[in-house]
Symmetry: C2
Subunit: 329 residues, 2 copies
């Protein structure tokens, strides 16, 4: 039996219509290639996470036995779940790591959720305790079929808009995003490669993929990347099973390439992105020669950047070398 099916994703698309933006593909010919960005940074909470959270909350609401939800998240899923829960009239509690960006903590609280901050390695346990104690339904950020099906709607839309694509590049943290997209793309565009992208400093999936078994990094290791949304030390169990079936390759990128991608997405693509959201585009810039000919899609997954960091990346050209193509305006 398939873990998440194309039908699950099509059902999710029906549930999230009107809540998530149907994002267009944006030509990124400034990369020098036939590339399109899928700007999930433009979703209501600034990331693709609205899709999975809305689908999961809608399914709980249809079941009719839930008055509150709980999750753990480094930030973007937190905001998405808070948003979806408020829209559905449910309470939401979010367990966030103490080093989560202030931007994301404040935004989650502003959406009406109760935020509890704990050490990063305690967050799953604390979320489980709240679920048990308060009777809240757990909506984990990636290791959850309804969440994965929701993220997979991105793949549906890509297949609809660009059925002849050669590859889709997707950043990986817990693996929910690429799992869902992989199911949709491999079902609808079997010719297309599905390529995972990670920071070199949080390359646990690259190691797992090479070893053909799940390998975890430490949160101390993954904390080194500026892509704060991609610091999950190991992909989830359900995503891992889907990744093994649907993902063709894993590319890792330097911090310099991530910074260059943030800057180029802003100045050439007119998109404000957070470092985590720019990792797939960074992989395109840094590893173009390893990609197939034909149209390529990079998923731009989020835009909740810290303003000071964004300004620094826009202006800090010197630090950003490392083989990344520098384009004029």
């Amino acid at each position: 039996m398939d873990l998440v099916t194309l039908d699950d994703i099509r059902d999710a698309a029906d549930r999230i219509r009107g809540s998530a933006v149907r994002t267009p593909l944006l030509s990124a010919s400034w990369t020098g290639r036939d590339v399109f960005c899928k700007p999930e940074s433009l979703q209501p909470v600034g990331s693709f996470k609205i899709r999975g959270a809305t689908n999961a909350v809608a399914m709980l609401g249809a079941a009719g036995q839930t008055s509150a939800v709980v999750t753990h998240s480094s930030g973007n899923h937190a905001q998405a779940l808070a948003y979806a829960a408020r829209a559905a009239g449910l309470g939401a509690t979010v367990v966030m790591p103490t080093q989560a960006s202030e931007v994301k903590v404040a935004a989650t609280r502003a959406l009406g959720a109760t935020v509890i901050q704990v050490a990063v390695d305690d967050r799953e346990r604390v979320a489980a305790e709240i679920a048990a104690k308060d009777g809240a339904a757990s909506v984990p950020p990636y290791d959850h079929a309804a969440v994965i099906a929701g993220q997979g709607t991105i793949g549906l839309e890509i297949a609809e808009d660009l059925p002849g694509l050669a590859a889709v590049l997707v950043q990986v943290s817990g693996g929910g995003l690429i799992s869902g997209i992989g199911v949709a793309i491999k079902a609808l565009c079997p010719q297309a490669l599905v390529i995972a992208c990670e920071p070199e400093l949080a390359a646990d999936l690259a190691e797992s993929f090479a070893a053909r078994e799940l390998r975890a990094w430490t949160s101390f290791q993954t904390a080194r990347t500026m892509a704060d949304g991609l610091r999950v030390p190991v992909v989830g169990g359900l995503p891992w099973q889907l990744i093994r079936t649907h993902v063709d390759d894993v590319l890792t990128v330097s911090e310099d390439a991530i910074g260059a991608a943030v800057r180029l997405l802003a100045l050439r693509g007119r998109l404000v992105t957070e470092p985590s959201g720019a990792v797939a585009t960074a992989a395109l810039l840094e590893h173009g020669s390893r990609l197939p000919d034909g149209p390529i899609v990079t998923v731009v997954s989020g835009g909740n950047v810290i303003p000071d960091q964004f300004v620094q990346l826009l202006t800090d050209r010197h630090r950003l070398g490392g083989g990344v193509p520098e384009l004029g305006w």
Copy 2:
């Protein structure tokens, strides 16, 4: 007989499909109101101008007697026409004012057009001379039915996505954008107000509207606004006739409000905009109390900002007071 009709705009929508992005409406609840942005900054050349230019070039191509086009433009129409002409296999010459932003001049040349820079008040005359001498078809930036019909496709899309809107706010330079949108919105959503927005420092339409006759400012006066795309000293004759029929009010905005809108569109809306493209959103921020209840759309018309200016506007909070609401992240 109507000057530009809903049918003209529907025909334009068919012609530009696949060339212009079908932009979504993006919730801008960060304004504290029920507001949606229409992000034309995400078009291939970074502005709505691709719509009108593509429609005009497609109509010339269908006529089959044109091998080249010529225009005058402060920049965004220039890039759009260069892009559309190249896509159609036509040559393009663009007459630009000497003070046009370097970003826009360089981008127009990169798209294969011949750029000629002249004093701003000479540009119409020089463009006409080139049309006469070279036999190139003139595609002026706004005083042209095919261009207006192309820009009007924005109104079609707004009416489709948000038929119950209460008002649409549109920045005005030569008037082609609001003319086209006005025709579509008044035909499809007659309850909605169509509101023109201008910098206080280039408020020729506000003066004309109050006087009920066309009034020109000098290019010396309009050069004072940072919104370099809105420095046209007087709206075109055809736009003026359409504006008199379809526009309900004119709002003018301070330079501080324009800067605040650029910053908030970036940090809250995740959109990179040029000052000209943020003027309608600035009007919403500065004149919210003068707007009707119900859903409002602000057109975000362009994103070709000078990088240094963009960084300055992101960081220069002190200068930006003037009654504009300051929102936290």
